[in-house]
């Protein structure tokens, strides 16, 4: 029943058991629970690292009886990296969450840790799955357990955001399920390795296959925050407590990317139109996230929108894999690396957000303005993360963004003399613009928190005096999380290429013919263009547009994002909650009432003469009926009876004629 590498089973199922145990421990001792949770996540991280030793394509685990088709796990190169990443991020966020909850909202911590651990198990299940049925099971479990993380604060805004979160999760999950039904019915298998052979042997029509994949994409696209399924993201990320948001942004969104990898690498391999569609969705996501990030006056919302934007870059990379076909080495490596980089960067940034919130209980840029001054550790972490995410050479984001950018350029060269070259030229320009946006909103955050002074001098003095804004363990993990970033970025031919070499097999990728010169002038100049644009945009949009003079003569940040431009509140909610249910209910009620109407009609005929009420007898001899008769809407009399009889005759004749014509036997 159970066979294969037990370590894989441990990674997936241990957190579920541990979650329950932590809840029980927490009922007695909060301190013991905190320690237990840290130990559990450390054990997960250790187990994931141990997985390296056995990582290979045959490193499988099967539990055949589980939920019908069984659980199929695998620990190959890519999956091992994802597992380590998940374990690492969980370990760090758990450490910071203990201090975070103590300083902010200490209610319902037990619930939070239980569901966080369950989410860890489910996420491991997704990343290690080698069978789409397994992926889907854990994907749904993850959607629902992470819901509790989102709703943790339980304020009205948060509850509204979590409705959006769970609504999209259910919708996306069911769309994915429909796609899986179609794949299973047509291919007879959902085993990832067996999909491409099955497509060849069953001769499934391309239309069916692309439709099925598009449906599967919906669920994963929701989790990744892909346009136009993104509207939950700018609501839910800020709603969750910061350690939870770190999980959502750094790792849960990657479950969506994982699904896209599976479709692009294991089903629609090298499918041009699929890749083109994904590229366009990706670039739209990157641009929209960037714009929303720039225009927000909220620290956390800005980095939430930044997540959306960066995931857009990853999706562009995934799309380019398919567009480039066999020449997709750069796109494969770029998207894998940007996935890893974004996770690490967002871990650092959301931990910084957690530190800010547990001190100030606010994210409004005007409230937190100047908080970071004279706080070197915080500044170091934030600065390194920002350098990483905007893609400054020697930091990690530069490597992956360059690879994705190069892959677009590569296709422009391939398609030199066709119309596609112009199209992809446009995509390249948009890509650079989106990169500039990253620079713009990150500068906004950095200057607001670490350079400018607060408008209220008393508050600034208070900020400057606050030296104990985070504990030693939190300082340590913050610095570690930031220090990793240049390790990947400064020696990319060793670290980044190492990760890519191990992982690319999952996407049927291969190493490029010659080593990539990351720090060649061509690549650096491209980045400089992007950064220059970003700085210019910062000066124009943020300094001139968003810093407005207030009544007291001082400049303060304003929210420049037009709140009424809300796709969800203006389109999705009215359509899905009002219009469609109205039409559906109209249809349903009519269908459901046919027989009721018929019985009412028959009743009218049968009980035509029956008086309404029985009058109690006035004397003991006999009863009498009430004089008043109920007025019947149905006409009475012999002519009416004749008409009804005639109708019956017509019906019978009609039946006879029809059966005669159609050869009724």
């Amino acid at each position: 029943m159970l066979e294969g590498n037990g370590l894989l089973m441990f990674l997936v199922f241990f957190p579920f058991a541990a979650g329950l145990v932590s809840y029980l421990i927490g009922r007695n001792s909060k301190r013991a629970r905190d320690i237990f949770v840290i130990v559990v996540t450390a054990a997960e991280l250790a187990a994931a690292i141990f997985l390296i030793a056995s990582a290979s394509d045959t490193n499988d685990f099967h539990w055949h009886a589980f939920a019908g088709l069984g659980v199929h796990l695998r620990g190959d190169g890519f999956r091992t990296i994802m597992a380590i990443l998940a374990g690492f991020i969980w370990f760090f966020t758990t450490i910071i969450s203990i201090e975070y909850f103590k300083k902010t909202e200490s209610r319902n911590r037990n619930r939070y840790y239980m569901f966080a651990l369950w989410t860890l198990g489910a996420t491991m299940g997704i990343f290690l799955s080698s069978h789409l049925y397994t992926t889907f099971i854990f994907f749904e479990v993850m959607s629902f357990t992470s819901y509790i993380l989102v709703i943790h604060k339980e304020t009205d805004d948060v509850i509204d955001a979590s409705k959006s979160y769970v609504g999209f999760a259910v919708f996306g999950g069911l769309a994915t399920l429909m796609g899986l039904f179609m794949l299973q019915a047509n291919l007879g298998t959902l085993e990832m390795d067996a999909l491409i052979p099955a497509i060849e042997s069953t001769g499934i029509s391309e239309v069916t296959l692309v439709w099925a994949c598009a449906l599967v994409l919906v669920g994963f696209g929701v989790k990744a925050g892909m346009f136009p399924l993104h509207t939950w993201l700018p609501q839910s990320y800020p709603a969750a407590p910061e350690p939870g948001t770190a999980l959502l942004s750094a790792i849960l969104s990657k479950a969506g990317i994982f699904g896209m990898f599976v479709i692009t690498g294991q089903i629609l391999l090298h499918h041009f139109s699929w890749g083109l569609a994904l590229t366009l969705f990706g670039i739209a996501t990157a641009l929209l996230g960037g714009i929303m990030g720039i225009l927000s006056d909220n620290f956390k919302k800005t980095i939430a929108c930044s997540s959306m934007s960066q995931i857009g870059f990853i999706i562009v990379g995934v799309g380019m894999q398919a567009v480039l076909g066999h020449h997709n080495a750069l796109a494969v490596r770029g998207s894998i690396l940007h996935l890893v980089n974004h996770s690490l960067i967002k871990l650092a940034l959301f931990m910084v957000a957690a530190v800010i919130f547990m001190n100030l209980k606010s994210f409004n840029l005007n409230d937190i303005r100047g908080f970071g001054r004279k706080k070197p550790a915080l500044m170091f972490t934030t600065g390194f993360a920002i350098l990483g995410v905007i893609g400054v050479p020697l930091w990690n984001g530069y490597v992956s963004k360059t690879l994705i950018h190069e892959s677009i350029v590569e296709y422009i060269e391939i398609a030199e003399h066709t119309g596609w070259a112009y199209g992809f030229k446009a995509i390249e320009v948009l890509f650079i613009i989106a990169g500039g946006m990253t620079c713009c909103y990150m500068l906004k955050l950095f200057f607001a928190v670490f350079v400018e002074k607060n408008n209220d001098p008393a508050k600034q003095a208070q900020f400057d005096a606050n030296k104990h804004y985070m504990s030693v363990p939190v300082t340590v993990i913050l610095i570690i999380s930031a220090a990793i970033l240049p390790v990947i970025g400064a020696i990319p031919n060793i670290t980044a290429d190492g990760i890519a070499d191990v992982a690319q097999h999952f996407l049927h990728g291969h190493s490029p013919e010659h080593a990539v010169h990351y720090f060649s002038w061509v690549n650096i100049s491209g980045t400089l263009k992007s950064l220059g644009g970003g700085v210019a945009a910062y000066l124009v949009i943020v300094r001139l547009g968003m810093l407005r003079k207030q009544s007291d003569g001082k400049k303060a940040y304003v929210n420049a994002w037009p709140e009424e431009l809300d796709l969800e509140k203006k389109v999705y909610r009215p359509a899905l909650l009002t219009v469609l249910p109205f039409i559906g209910a109209l249809f349903a009620r009519s269908v459901a009432s046919i027989v009721d109407w018929f019985t009412a009609f028959v009743g009218k005929i049968i009980f035509l003469k029956r008086p309404e009420r029985f009058q109690p007898p006035l004397n003991n001899e006999f009863g009498t009926f009430n004089e008043e008769e109920k007025e019947s809407k149905i006409p009475q009399g012999i002519s009416y009876s004749l008409i009804m009889f005639g109708a019956g005759v017509v019906a019978v004749l009609y039946f006879i004629i029809i059966s005669f014509i159609s050869g009724w036997r």
């Binding site: 099971i137 509850i159 769309a175 429909m178 249910p581 269908v591 046919i594 009721d596 036997r665």
Partner: protein, 492 residues
């Protein structure tokens, strides 16, 4: 003479149930009913382990015979119904105290299980029809238990529809009696005499359609579903639970017996009747969910949900493929379990707080965490979220619909299952969200724990463990159903 044992689960509860009526002492009554239902379940499980048996009781006139037998299908339904019946009985003891007339309720409750066992074990359509009518009649007192005007009216509607539906079944029997040369017993693969049928195929098809619609009445299938959302909510909660979860399944069994054991699926598959029936089931699935989504009365919402969910079963049956049957029978189990949990939870809420509308249930999860946790698990199963059981059954229903070569109708069916799942999420998740997360302005100070006694929570917990456990490890169920399936599809 093993066959004689079949009479125990049928007659014993009926007669023993009669003895409940005069009882006045609450404790004796409860002990007595518990003993009856537990013995009944034990006998049913015992029978499941002995080979198939047959028993002819009474020959009314030439081919009209009252006789019993057990095959895989009987065992399946009997075991399911008898075991849940025990759990609901325990819940009912406490619940019914606030409705009054305990002995009457428990008496009829006990007698009903006997008539259902009669339905499960009948070996021909005459016997089946007889017990079907018994069951309809004997459940009317459960529906009208509160004796309010609404419940009396609902009871009459229930009775009218039931009798009419069963009448349609009986009507078809007269025809089938001819086309089978009087072999009206249940044999897998059907027993039509093809030499008589030749040239009259369409007549047989019309008759089948009428019979299925007739038995479909009990299962809440269009067009005879209107009684269900009226009658189920007015009954006391334990009665609603068994009416919705289990007694609708008697209608399902009727349809299985007609399609798979009398007319035969060889004859039916690919005909226009199959198309009509699949369309009816699809319409019902959508209609039920849609109206549940719009409904504000908690128990009525659940009743509409039953209309939808039982038609999932019927949709699977009408595919006439092994995968469809597997999905359908799994759905029978998981819907029975989930719907019982949900109605019992609704009952517990009514019993403790007297709240009947969904918008009154804010913060209920804080007051009754165990009950609402059970409700949540059942809801997830009802939507079809893995790894609960409901997901598992829907998987087979939808892949069966897509892989059976039904073309557009198959895709429409699978898509409707998912749209319905979305609607299901729309009508259960808000209850859970409001229940567990009432918002910051909720009055936590005035909150008091209202968890009901163990008599109510333990049955709920057992059922919830089943819904999750059987979803995670469904192998025993699939093995049992595969056995049934191989005999049903032996000739194909």
């Amino acid at each position: 003479m093993i066959g004689i044992l079949l009479l125990i689960p049928i007659l014993f509860p009926v007669f023993a149930g009669l003895a409940v009526f005069p009882m006045e002492n609450r404790k004796t009554m409860r002990t007595f009913v518990s003993v009856i239902v537990i013995i009944n379940a034990a006998v049913v499980y015992g029978l499941a382990f002995i080979p198939d048996a047959e028993l002819e009781v009474w020959n009314i006139a030439d081919t009209m015979v009252v006789s019993f037998h057990q095959d895989g299908m009987s065992k399946f339904f009997a075991c399911l119904i008898a075991s849940i019946w025990v759990l609901v009985a325990f819940f009912a003891y406490e619940y019914i105290t606030h409705e009054g007339d305990e002995s009457k309720f428990l008496g009829f409750y006990t007698m009903t299980i006997g008539t259902i066992m009669g339905i499960c074990y009948s070996s021909n359509l005459i016997t089946f029809y007889m017990f079907f009518e018994f069951m309809s009649l004997i459940t009317v007192p459960l529906v009208i238990h509160s004796r309010t005007k609404d419940s009396m009216k609902a009871g009459m509607k229930y009775l009218g529809y039931s009798v009419f539906g069963a009448g349609l079944g009986l009507f078809g029997l007269f025809f089938l009696n001819y086309y089978t040369k009087g072999h009206i017993g249940f044999t897998s693969g059907g027993n039509l005499d093809m030499s008589l049928v030749a040239g009259h195929e369409n007549w047989v098809l019309v008759v089948t359609l009428i019979m299925v619609i007739g038995f479909g009445c009990k299962a809440g299938m269009l067009p005879l579903q209107a009684w269900l959302p009226t009658a189920h909510p007015v009954a006391p909660a334990p009665a609603s639970a068994v009416l919705s979860g289990l007694i609708t399944k008697a209608g399902v069994l009727g349809i299985i017996r007609v399609c798979y054991y009398m007319v035969g699926i060889d004859f039916l598959s690919g005909t226009w009747v199959q198309t009509v029936l699949m369309s009816l089931a699809i319409c019902t699935v959508f209609m039920g969910s849609m109206l549940a989504f719009k409904e504000k009365l908690f128990k009525k919402r659940l009743a509409f949900s039953t209309v939808s969910q039982v038609s999932y079963v019927l949709f699977g049956l009408f595919l006439f493929t092994p995968q469809g049957l597997l999905g359908a029978l799994l759905q029978v189990i998981f819907h029975a379990v989930a719907k019982n949990i949900m109605f019992l939870s609704a009952g517990a809420i009514i019993y403790k707080t007297h709240k009947t509308y969904v918008y009154e249930l804010r913060g209920i999860g804080k007051q009754m965490p165990i009950v609402m946790w059970c409700f949540t698990l059942a809801s997830l199963s009802l939507i079809g979220i893995p790894p609960t059981g409901g997901y598992f059954s829907k998987w087979y229903l939808a892949t069966g619909a897509l892989s059976g070569g039904f073309g557009f109708l198959g895709y429409l069916g699978a898509a409707t299952l998912l749209v319905s799942a979305l609607l299901t999420a729309g009508y259960v998740l808000p209850i859970i969200q409001e229940g567990f997360f009432p918002g910051k302005d909720f009055d936590y100070k005035g909150l008091e724990k209202k968890e009901p006694s163990k008599l109510m929570t333990v049955p709920l917990i057992i059922l919830s463990v089943a819904v999750l456990g059987l979803g995670i490890i469904p192998t025993p169920l699939t093995a049992a159903i595969d056995q049934i399936s191989t005999t049903v599809f032996a000739g194909m």
